[in-house]
């Protein structure tokens, strides 16, 4: 059973088509990356998924049934536009939000401090929101999305504005949730952030789906035609018919190979010219590169 199934949903705001014929499904126990540049329709899609807006056409199914509001407390949502009540104490706030998701006040009050401790913000629990740093507020909202132990967790740009240490802390928490069998929908424009963790992805661009599928499967569709070289000395070996294009940086170069050429040839030429190679690595294209390649094709077509 898919937790979320979107079938050709479409949303138009005035003259602007926000989402056009988007279909995707999210399976339990997976981390799903909804990717795309800013303004590509990620947030609009999520809003339709959880009934904040209704699609103009197409259908939304949650937990195997047609959309119904009764299913919403089974979802935890961290919106991109964040906000908390400024004057309200953190604990009261978490309890209130927990109650709105169907938790008993007592249960929420018991879980909230445990979560704060886990995310290393225990000192915040008795304070008002306006007294907290931005990062802390973001963690509070993160907790609010997870407090009621939802089966589906939706995170819209969860790490924006967080330092790497805290981003890693939240990512670990999310991975932990996945281990417990929950599904996570992770929406971001930072494709490099999710590459390592997502089981499946959907990339949307200008409201349309451009790429969808299991991460492994997508990557395997694109040949490992990148090479990273660190070297010192003569750089003329880069002028080689096997190299389609390259970018140099201090002490190295990123190479895109010409179709069906053997990288060994390049290595061979470098050695022949006396260049010292300290690193030579064949790489898969990154998601970002795949995205640019796909969108580039689309724009051309």
């Amino acid at each position: 059973m898919s937790l979320v199934e979107l079938d050709r949903i479409r949303k138009v705001y005035g003259a602007k088509v926000a989402v056009e014929g988007l279909s995707l499904s999210i399976e339990p126990g997976t981390m799903f990356g909804l990717l795309g540049p800013n303004g590509s329709g990620k947030s609009s899609s999520i809003r339709m998924m959880i009934g904040i807006t209704r699609p103009d056409s197409g259908s939304v199914r949650l937990f195997g049934k047609p959309f119904e509001r009764a299913a919403l407390p089974r979802i935890g949502y961290l919106p991109e536009e964040r906000g908390l009540y400024k004057k309200m104490k953190v604990l009261d706030q978490l309890v209130f939000l927990g109650q709105l998701h169907g938790l008993e006040a007592a249960t929420a009050a018991k879980r909230a401090p445990a979560w704060c401790e886990r995310l290393q913000i225990s000192e915040a629990i008795g304070k008002k929101t306006e007294e907290l740093s931005k990062g802390m507020q973001q963690k509070i909202q993160f907790i609010a999305a997870l407090l009621h132990e939802p089966e589906l967790i939706i995170m819209d740009e969860p790490f924006s504005g967080l330092d790497p240490v805290n981003a890693a802390l939240l990512m670990d928490t999310l991975l932990d949730q996945r281990k417990q069998g929950r599904a996570i929908l992770f929406s971001t424009h930072r494709m490099d952030q999710v590459e390592k963790f997502c089981d499946s992805i959907a990339i949307i661009y200008q409201g349309k789906l451009v790429l969808e599928g299991a991460m492994r499967e997508i990557k395997s569709r694109y040949p490992a035609n990148r090479a990273l070289v660190h070297f010192s000395g003569d750089a003329t070996f880069l002028e080689h018919p096997a190299i389609a294009r390259f970018k140099t940086f201090a002490g190295g170069a990123e190479i895109v190979l010409a179709d069906a050429s053997d990288p060994q040839l390049i290595l061979h030429q470098a050695v022949a010219r006396g260049t010292r190679i300290t690193r030579f690595e064949i790489m898969e294209p990154t998601l970002e590169e795949i995205f640019i390649e796909t969108v580039g094709e689309n724009v051309a077509a």
Partner: protein
């Protein structure tokens, strides 16, 4: 366990209520507003009493007896507390007094010349030379006192005794054994009007503000992931309204406790309470409806705007009907049951204030009262329907102020 949606409304309303009641602002407003209002009412009354004219003038009269009577009236009369010198009526005195008027170191307001009647009139001629043309208080006091003295003189000329004259000139008092003191009852109705006006104004705006707060803190998106915009609006209006009711409740209770002591002093005997239980019941009913009505307008305004500043520009939609009621109040005071009064008091935006006022001072038919409640209910539902649409679409289209065609289009979205 409540049904899901009612439970949501309850949660929102309770949060709104508790967060507001706990603030210092609420405490301060609860204590300070009645103090200020009381200060205004009683202070104003006191000041009005103190503004009896106390000018220093001189009277130059051809008739010393008349001058003496007028001096007595001006110095010890009901409306004035002047200092009066009697001077001879001649050119030397006039010149001296003219000089004195120009001398700003002295508190001399002017002089009154009483000249013999001329041109067949029976009245003497009066010429008042004043330092300031705008000294209305002294002017009025002179007119009133002269008239009293003249009347008294004429009456005594017809052979009436002094005590008979005083009895004739005494103010008329109408006894009203059925309803008690009308002035006090009118005053009470007026206080109700002002109270309702203020609270609606204050808490209507609070509803709008609380919606904007949610929008500017952007927390609504999390809330909307489990609850519906209508539930959120309903919860907010009820929560903020309950705060208003609490505040008015505190005031009424305080007034009741103080009133037990006061009422006796104001009404004297007779045992008629100034404020009847019916009045209070209608006040509460109309307050609740009026509040819901104006809050739903405010909610629509809040839903349309993104900041306090934008709200300020739109709050005339809230103020204009209220100000219209203020104007209409005058019509109703004059003739509470005229066709115009009956018509305006049925307009849903005015009923809470005007029908309630008419119940206190006039005699509206029971069907009018029922009709006013029915019309208000329908209006509230219509406005809520519209504002929840505006809200739902408006919050998701932030950043840009909507124009009218856009708002109309929003109404079509669901």
């Amino acid at each position: 366990m409540l049904p899901h949606s009612l439970n949501n409304v309850w949660l929102i309303a309770r949060r709104e209520y508790l967060e507001r009641v706990r603030t210092k602002a609420f405490l301060i407003a609860t204590v300070l507003i009645p103090v200020l209002l009381g200060g205004l009412v009683f202070g104003g009354g006191y000041m009005a009493q103190r503004t009896k004219s106390s000018a220093h003038i001189a009277i130059l009269s051809y008739d010393p007896a008349f001058a003496g009577d007028l001096k007595r009236e001006l110095e010890g009369g009901k409306d004035s507390d002047m200092q009066v010198d009697l001077e001879p009526l001649d050119d030397a005195t006039r010149a001296r007094l003219n000089a004195e008027i120009k001398d700003t170191t002295k508190h001399f307001a002017g002089y009154l010349q009483v000249l013999p009647p001329a041109g067949g009139s029976v009245r003497p001629r009066f010429i008042y030379t004043a330092r300031s043309a705008s000294d209305i208080g002294t002017d009025t006091a002179l007119k009133v006192s002269i008239k009293t003295v003249l009347t008294r003189e004429r009456l005594s000329g017809r052979g009436l005794g002094a005590s008979e004259i005083e009895a004739l000139l005494a103010p008329v008092e109408i006894e009203n054994p059925e309803t008690g003191d009308t002035t006090a009852a009118f005053f009470a109705a007026y206080v109700f009007f002002i109270l309702m006006y203020m609270v609606i104004m204050l808490y209507g705006m609070n509803t709008a503000r609380s919606i904007i707060e949610e929008k500017s803190s952007r927390i609504f998106e999390v809330l909307l992931s489990t609850i519906k915009p209508d539930e959120m609006l309903a919860g907010k209006i009820l929560g903020v309204g309950a705060v208003g009711l609490t505040q008015v409740g505190v005031w009424m209770l305080a007034a009741l406790i103080l009133g037990v002591n006061f009422a006796g002093a104001i009404t004297g005997t007779g045992g008629h309470a100034i404020v009847s239980a019916t009045q209070i019941a209608f006040f509460i009913a109309y307050f609740i409806f009026g509040f819901l009505l104006y809050s739903s307008i405010a909610a629509a305004l809040g839903a349309m705007t993104n900041s306090e500043q934008e709200l300020q520009q739109l709050n005339m939609f809230l103020v204009i009907p209220l100000v219209f009621c203020m104007f209409m109040l005058l019509t109703i005071i004059k003739s509470p049951d005229s066709a115009l009064s009956r018509f305006v008091s049925l307009i849903p935006f005015c009923s809470p204030l005007l029908m309630n006022f008419r119940i206190s001072i006039g005699a509206p038919q029971p069907w009018e009262i029922w009709l006013s409640f029915i019309l208000m209910s329908l209006t509230i539902l219509a406005i809520l329907w519209v504002s929840s649409r505006i809200y739902r679409v408006g919050i998701l289209m932030y950043g840009k102020k909507p124009n009218l065609p856009e708002i109309l289009r929003w109404l079509k979205y669901s």
